[in-house]
Symmetry: C2
Subunit: 200 residues, 2 copies
DNA sequence: GCAGGAGCTGACCGATCGGTCAATTACCGT
DNA sequence: ACGGTAATTGACCGATCGGTCAGCTCCTGC
């Protein structure tokens, strides 16, 4: 029994299928993604998909679940660390890194979190997003402040995730590091300075 | 020949169907909206839908086309008026009003503009959005400036359109006027002040 | 050498999809 | 009273959907 934990020799079929499914879910949507298309895109048959994943919904869970876990951790840490400006700054960087590292999954559950209401994994994502909003934005915050938060997070998410429509994709993709810095700057501008109430 | 132009006596079936379709497209997505569901929701049969609209795609065109026309007009006026700070301020207000008055349509073609690529009406919407981005953000603008624009417009759009997930919907909806003012304030903050280059 | 399980697949199922068509109903000017 | 047109509908079509199942091919431990 030399290796019990994932032999890296060959790529696992379930991983290929999960990745193909994630790409399909993010680009054409969950409802419009057929198991046949996912199977074709990954080079397997539809039956193989249903062999590795019990249902289309289980495939969605496998595709975006890990990213939701990360988001929940991010949220938990931020809540524990307090809402001071310094903590916010740290959070902003971690949040942007999270977006950059999970573009497809975030695109999927942000863009379709409303239309797929009812699926457990989507409910979990929506709950996390709501918790994120509540934690940054105190209940008694002004509407303008809530708007500032919403515009920042939603705008950042959309820019990284579906940004191809807005950004010049004529010239090739900007380096991730560049995008990260620019985005962190804009978010800090929005969420840290604030007109009169930097801490609360 | 007393009245040739739209007798307002009774609601037109085509309008009811178009509205029901728009709601379905915005909430569950175009691909996941069946003609049967739309017909049921409007109180007609599926055949009636296809009597008034030649196809599902034609129904989408009727549902979101007018909003795209408005967006194109908005864009044309802004391009003609120049990019000065004052012109930007006017544009911001008009843009927010446009969002408020066309929430469902905007939600549809912004959220699904990528997945529905190929449909003519969607291509028109994407072209308008791209034109909007290019017109505000000069080609030589820094990446941070492009980000600022993208975050502002995408964030504002998402807040008004799918904001139920982020905003407190526990207590009831804020008045549109309040939302409008708050959003105009945040957008002005982002797009007018700019760090060093207010005009260009 | 062989039993057996994992991986993979084609055939098939009922349901639903977008769309066509013929028939029926309701309403109109004459 | 009647002919014609607009509006509406149910029956039906081929295609595709998510999902089930039996069988096929390997590879491995004994």
């Amino acid at each position: 029994m030399p290796s019990d934990v994932t032999v890296p020799s060959r790529v696992r079929a379930s991983d290929e299928l999960r990745q193909a499914a994630l790409e399909q879910f993010a680009t054409v949507g969950f409802a419009a993604s057929s198991l046949q298309q996912i199977a074709d895109h990954a080079g397997y048959s539809k039956s193989s998909v249903l062999y590795h994943y019990a249902s289309k919904e289980a495939l969605l869970e496998a595709a975006i679940g890990p990213a939701i876990d990360l988001l929940e951790t991010l949220l938990r840490d931020f809540v524990a660390g307090g809402r001071a400006a310094a903590a916010r700054a740290v959070f902003i960087e971690r949040f942007v890194d999270f977006l950059l590292g999970n573009r497809l999954a975030v695109h999927t559950f942000v863009n379709q979190g409303q239309s797929l209401r009812g699926l457990p994994v989507i409910e979990r994502a929506n709950t996390a997003i709501r918790g994120l909003a509540d934690s940054i934005c105190a209940d008694d915050a002004s509407l303008a402040e809530q708007m500032r938060f919403g515009v920042a997070l939603a705008g950042a998410t959309y820019m990284l995730v579906a940004g191809a429509t807005f950004l010049d994709d004529g010239d090739q993709q900007f380096a991730d590091a560049e995008v990260r810095d620019a985005l962190v700057a804009v978010l800090s501008e929005l969420l840290l300075t604030a007109d009169g109430r930097p801490t609360r």
